[in-house]
Every structure is written in C-alpha cells, then in structure tokens.
C-alpha cells in the first residue's frame, strides 16, 4: 500500500480516556490506536458515545479535568507526544501543526469579535505577522474558503454570517497557519445537505491542494464513503475495524460494521428493500459487559466473546484490513 510509505503525521497508541462522574467512571476511549499519513483523509465513523470525538479531543488536549482524564497512551504528532507535552507547547502546536473544526460553528466563534479579528489572531500569534499582514492573510483565507467579497466581510460579526459561512470561517481559521493535520468533528452535521456538500468539497480540495491530512469524524457512512481513503469504525470506545475505504465497504468483516451498513437507507436501494437494523442498544459505558462490548447485539457471538475482548488482528488473507472479532463471519453460523 502506498500509504505505508508515506510519512506518519499522527500516531495514536493505546489511548485511554475516562470521565469520573458522580454516577461512575465512563470509559469513553478504551485503548484506541490509529495512524494518519501525510495527505490522507481518514474517516472515523461510529454512533454517539462510540468515543470518536473524545479520541480527537484527547489528542488536542481539550479534555477538561475534572471530570475527564487521559489515563494511558500516546499521540505523536510529527514525533512529539501531544499527551505528555507541556501546556505551553500545546498552545504552540495547536493551531500551528494541528487544527480542529467543530460541529457547531455558532458556538465556536466569539460573538463580540469581528470575523477579521478572529481570523487574523491565529496568524499573528503563530506566524509572528504584523497586524496589517494578519488582516491581509485573513482576507486571503476567507477568499480561499469561497466567501464572496472577502475583504469587506472581515468587518462583519459572526451573527451576520449563515451557518454554512460560519463553518467556512472555522475552516479558514483552522487552515490559517497551514497545519499538517486538520481534524473535522462532524463538520457538516448542523448544516443542510447542499451546504454540507459545499463544505466537504472544500475540505477535500484543500486536502488535495495543500496536502493537509484530514480526520473526518462522522456518523454518516455516506460522507466517509465519498471522501475518506481510510476508515476506522468505532464502537463503545474502541476501534473494531479498520482498513482502506474500498475494502471496509466491500468486505466488512466485523459484525458491527456489517450491521451498520445494513442499517442505513441508500439512495440507490431497490424498491421494497428492507433495512436490517442492529437489535438492541449500545452498552452503558459505565458498565461495559465482559469481553466484547458488541456481543449482546451480535448474531455471531460465541462463548469466547464473553470471556475476552478480541484484539485487533489482520483479517486473514488481507494486508491492511484489521478487525477486533473472534469470529470469522464469512464461515460462522448465525446464533439464534
């Protein structure tokens, strides 16, 4: 695979993040490892509570203590471990080498500062530019993300922008210092379909033109299929399957991935086709069951699944495709 030779931008190893709440300990991230290579778009897909966002927030050092704590693992960004880095260094790296955009563009912008002030701030802080240069760069960035009449709109406040435009501002801000890695956490969930397409096309264009590596965190399997090179499927705080996008969609080997794909209505499905939902609900992260956390909903579960959590292992006969499942679903019998 070509990606293997490419430089690793982010290397997450055995990350464990927990939240200590009054009701108990929430195992939000329970041993997550993945890599992001230069110029790559990685899709992290999972349902709410799967730990996909908390993993990214842990890497960004944005987990508030109390109640949250990164308890184990490392996340090396260009060889520097984000987890053990001093707070001061984190401030330098954040915005400079790594940037994150969030789901809610309204709450992520400061309502009392103009778009220009907010955009130029990062440039001035991280790149040591003057006020004037900062403002020029801000206009350039706004133009790059496709906002018409950019130079004049710098004087506007966030409330004068629509949802889609605010998300563009967030992307412009994220890209202002040309980071090596952009983390987009449900970047389009709050937006309409046609605006969603605009934003995702923009992210893809920037990935191609600037070579920025991108992590797209989403629950939308379609978005991942359209844009991601590599897919990590998460369930209850762990990655359960990972591989090149084509392989994951064509030959999913973890029962959860299979179930997820059978649950989504497809625009091109045949008339009268039925959805095949995964029965039951995701487990309580405070009381995870023994062994595999998916076993209660799994139609292939065997006794061993209750005893021990399956490690991520190479799918037999493939070189890049890993799954965490004791069962080979291509030959296994379905449990009643």
């Amino acid at each position: 695979m070509a990606t293997e030779q490419r430089k690793v931008v982010l290397d997450i190893k055995d990350l464990v993040t927990r939240f200590y709440t009054a009701d108990g300990v929430v195992k939000a991230v329970d041993g997550v490892s993945y890599k992001v290579h230069e110029g790559e778009i990685v899709g992290v897909v999972g349902e709410s509570g799967s730990g996909k966002s908390v993993t990214a927030l842990s890497v960004m050092r944005l987990i508030p203590w109390p109640p949250g704590k990164v308890e184990n693992g490392s996340a090396e960004l260009n060889g520097q471990d984000m987890i053990t880095m001093s707070n001061e260094d984190v401030l330098n790296v954040r915005g400079d080498d790594i940037a994150m955009i969030f789901q809610e563009p309204m709450t992520s912008l400061n309502p009392v500062l103009t778009i220009g002030q907010q955009l130029s701030e990062a440039v001035e802080t991280h790149m040591g530019k003057s006020k004037k240069e900062g403002w020029e760069r801000a206009a350039e960035l706004l133009d790059m993300v496709g906002i018409p009449d950019a130079a004049n709109r710098l004087h506007d406040y966030p409330h004068q922008f629509s949802g889609g435009m605010r998300q563009r501002v967030m992307i412009a801000m994220g890209l202002s210092c040309e980071p090596r890695l952009l983390i987009a956490d449900e970047p389009t969930t709050a937006l309409d379909v046609t605006i969603q397409a605009q934003i995702l096309e923009l992210i893809q264009k920037l990935n191609k033109e600037l070579g920025t590596a991108v992590i797209i965190i989403t629950h939308n399997l379609g978005v991942v299929a359209r844009y991601a090179d590599w897919v990590n499927v998460m369930y209850a705080g762990r990655i359960v399957e990972s591989g090149p996008a084509d392989v994951i969609y064509a030959q999913p080997r973890h029962p959860y991935t299979v179930g997820l794909l059978a649950s989504v209505p497809r625009l091109d499905s045949d008339r009268g086709s039925k959805l095949d939902p995964i029965p039951g609900m995701p487990p309580d992260l405070m009381n995870l069951p023994s062994g595999c956390s998916f076993r209660a909903r799994c139609k292939f579960a065997i006794d061993k699944c209750a005893e021990e959590y399956p490690p991520m292992e190479l799918v037999s006969g493939e070189e890049n495709h890993h799954k965490a499942c004791w069962v080979d679903i291509t030959t296994a019998t379905v449990r009643n």
């Binding site: 349902e47 709410s48 629509s162 889609g164 435009m165 309409d192 379909v193 046609t194 605006i195 969603q196 397409a197 605009q198 096309e201 629950h219 939308n220 399997l221 379609g222 978005v223 991942v224 299929a225 359209r226 996008a245 084509d246 969609y249 064509a250 179930g259 997820l260 794909l261 059978a262 649950s263 989504v264 209505p265 497809r266 625009l267 091109d268 499905s269 008339r271 086709s273 039925k274 959805l275 095949d276 939902p277 995964i278 029965p279 609900m281 995701p282």
Partner: protein
Amino acid sequence: MTTDTEDILQVNNLKMYFPVNSRGIIPRHVADVKAVDDITFNVKSGETLGIVGESGCGKTTVGRSVMQVYDLTGGEVIFEGQDISKLKAKEMRQMRQRMQMIFQDPYSSLNPRMTAGSIIGEPIKIHKMSKTKAEYAEQVEELLRVVGLNPYMRDRYPHEFSGGQRQRIGIARALAVRPSLIIADEPVSALDVSIQAQVINLMQDLQEQFSLTYMFIAHDLSVVRHISDRIAVMYLGKIVEIATRDELYENPLHPYTKALLSAVPIPDPVVERTRDRIVLEGDVPSPIDPPSGCRFHTRCPIAIDQCSEEDPEFRNVGNDHWVACLRV
C-alpha cells in the same frame, strides 16, 4: 390537481405567512415570512408521501398547516372529503382523532412528569375511547406491545428510556386514537443509525398492520426515498417537484432536485467515484424577501433571464410527475 376518490388528503393553494413586526412600543406589521406559498398536492390513501427539503423550506409548516395548528393564510385542506380549514375548534379536535403527528425530538415532545403509560393513554381518555379502567389498561398495554416496548415499562418516566424507545412512545401515542393519517416530522433524524433503522422498520410494519397513510417530512433524502411511495421536493416555501420515488431518483427534472440528489453521498466508495457532483453555490435566500420569479434562480446552474421574471407553473409532465421549472 385532479380530484381523486382515493385521495385521503388534498391540499389546494395552501399559503401560510407569518407576520414580522417592527420592534418598539407600537409594533407595526412590516413584512411576512412566506413559509409556505401556494402549494398544491394530494396524499393517496395508504401511501407514504415524503416531503423533503432543507431548513426553512417550509416542510414542517406544511405538516402543521395540515394539522390546523395555525389559521391558514389561504388555501384549503380537504381531509377525507371534508374541508377542515373551515372547522371550528371543537370539530377540529374530533377530526384530530383521524390524523396524528409524530415529532422529531423524542426528548422534548414527551412530558417528563408523565409516565409512558399515561402519555400513551392520554389521547384514549381525551377521545373517550375506553369504557372501563380495565379496558383502558389493556389498550395501553397493547399499544406498548405494538411498538415493541414491554408492557411493564408503562410506569417508567421518559428519562428512563433511550432516544429510540422514546420515539416508540411517541408513535404509540399517535396510534392510540387509531388515526388514518400520520404526519411524521423528522421522526428519525435525532436517532443514531442503528436505532433509526429500527424505527423506520417499525413505521413500515405499522403502516401495513393498521393501513395507515403517512406524510413523512424529513431533510434526509435517503431516508425519505426509502420509506416513501411518492416524494415532494420543497424549496423556499414552494413544491418544485413531485414524483414517485423511483421516477424522482431515475429521472429528476428540477435542477434543485438534481443538486439535492447529487449532494447525498451513497455509502459505497465504488459507486461514489462514478457519480456526478453538482455543488450549488451560495445559501438559501431569506423567505421574508424571496427572489422574484423562480425562487431557485439565484442558485440555479441553468437559469436564464426569464427565470427571474416568471414564476414557473407547477405542471404535470406525465406519469404523475409534477415539476415547476421553465427549463424543463
């Protein structure tokens, strides 16, 4: 549209404007939000009509107007042969027994201080559908069972249920009065993928079991296409196209429909590589001051000068396929 005896619902020239008042001591009426502006459609008995569009297109207002939540600005709503837009409040209350609504947010649409049983049972009491206490209890239990909940859950409060289970309670409540039409407004958009599929399947099963007619309002075209027999596409207060699900997907005529279809990614990377992507520019204009002529002309990739002057007629192009576009 033609009158058809099979139609359970006919909506003719429906208009719903919301006034915008100036601020100050004496508020003045300064403008209208034309949430729904002269739309006509029908719903056939036993079918699912999907209504799809982006935020602010008026799809929710259509559903609520049909339910007579508002006093209509104009037009008529003929339900089971009767114009219900002229009914008095008391008569309308009776009528609501025949049409029920399911809402998007299963968290805020259920009263947190009522048990699941009393939420589901409330309409039974209001419409006096049970004679004895035993009969009431039996009906509530049956409804719980029908939507896939366990009857012992009757005494639990909404916060004790998951999102998917709450939506099941909302569905059970709507079913309690044995309606013929259910208007579902974004019923699955707040739910996770695997739970969403459970609720969609439940709705399909119930439709078969109780011969229900659905108006299914949502922004997610994949979900709408999955559940609907026919689909109406809305843009800025207007229906721009109506067709059967397959016709709409295989032969979309309106440029907005085409863009909407192309914007929805299909969960299959191989299929995705072969698809055309039409990316619309700009945002949806404000419904207070919609563009002249065709409201889509400001974003339309194939608009001509005439489009900004002339409001395109909503016309049948054959095959029960209706479209409002000068370029078709």
